[in-house]
């Protein structure tokens, strides 16, 4: 018999959380399937461009590239460079707006 048939069942994540992880996954799938994720992404992108966040990030990248030299830079480098600063510098109003949208989707989808 194939080893895979006798595979023990996938653990349920942390038992005390109930089926939260699975719920999470379901929600995420719903998000993508309904197209809401795309809409949220576009909205977030737009807001970030409007408030200059994207330009700040690009400036950081440019400075880094200038320092390191054009040919020594990888995408990974830039991602690691931008992620902490990027997460911290999102404007509060933008974040609030997006969270609101997501929350209302969750409540409507959970029903």
């Amino acid at each position: 018999m194939k080893h895979s048939v006798n595979r023990p069942p996938t653990p349920d994540g942390a038992e005390d959380q109930g089926n939260e992880p699975i719920l999470q996954e379901i929600i995420k799938i719903k998000l993508i399937e309904s197209g809401e994720k795309e809409r949220l992404m576009e909205m977030l992108r737009e807001r970030l461009i409007e408030c200059g966040w994207k330009d700040e990030m690009k400036a950081l990248c440019r400075a880094y590239v200038k320092k390191k030299g054009r040919n020594n830079v990888t995408v990974d480098d830039l991602v690691h460079l931008i992620t902490p600063k990027g997460r911290a510098s999102v404007r509060d109003s933008v974040k609030a707006e997006l969270l609101q949208r997501i929350r209302s989707f969750l409540t409507s989808a959970a029903l």
Partner: protein, 179 residues
């Protein structure tokens, strides 16, 4: 809405928001990487080169040896070039066909087409019409009457000829007006 659900919702929302933000960050990083590799952004080395050149030019302008613009014969402009005081480009005079330097062209034309005594000898019947057209619009200038000219256009008594090329005492007369 029960309490725990609210918290979970909030937590989930933040988690989803974090995912979205991460995706966008990767997009931006990828875009910047592409621009850097392809050199599409205003080239960084070029920028430095330009800055260096402009700093050089600025230093030259501020140089005390070039304090007054009319000081030396050779004036240095902002690009560091010097121009000789007499323009040196050479081309052909359309009247006499000689090679003339640009800076000497005006005086040459004066002699070639206008007031020079020797120039008169070059005038032929066929070119008088062209010269009429040229001279009619020109300002009045004082010419001494040419009484000893041997040109066939001249009347022997020295009055303005039919061609209207001569002026006496600064009075301009139409060719067909005889005083």
């Amino acid at each position: 809405m029960s309490g725990p659900n609210e918290d979970n919702n909030t937590q989930l929302s933040s988690h989803i928001f974090g995912d979205l933000l991460d995706s966008i960050i990767v997009d931006v990083a990828s875009e910047c990487h592409r621009i850097a590799k392809l050199g599409l952004d205003r080239n960084l080395e070029e920028e430095e080169e330009e800055m260096r050149l402009s700093a050089q030019a600025r230093a030259r302008v501020a140089d005390p040896s070039n304090s007054s613009e009319t000081n030396t014969k050779y004036v240095v402009d902002i690009f560091g070039q010097t121009h000789p005081s007499v323009a040196t480009e050479i081309f052909e005079c359309m009247n006499c066909g000689r090679s003339i330097a640009a800076g000497r062209f005006a005086p040459h034309l004066e002699k070639c087409m206008g007031k020079g005594r020797k120039a008169r000898l070059k005038v032929t019947r066929s070119s008088t019409a062209a010269q009429n057209r040229y001279l009619r619009g020109s300002p009045v200038s004082t010419y001494s009457p040419y009484s000893n000219s041997t040109s066939t256009n001249r009347l022997s008594n020295g009055t303005p000829s039919v061609a209207g090329e001569e002026y006496s005492n600064g009075t301009y007369e139409e060719p067909w007006n005889k005083t």
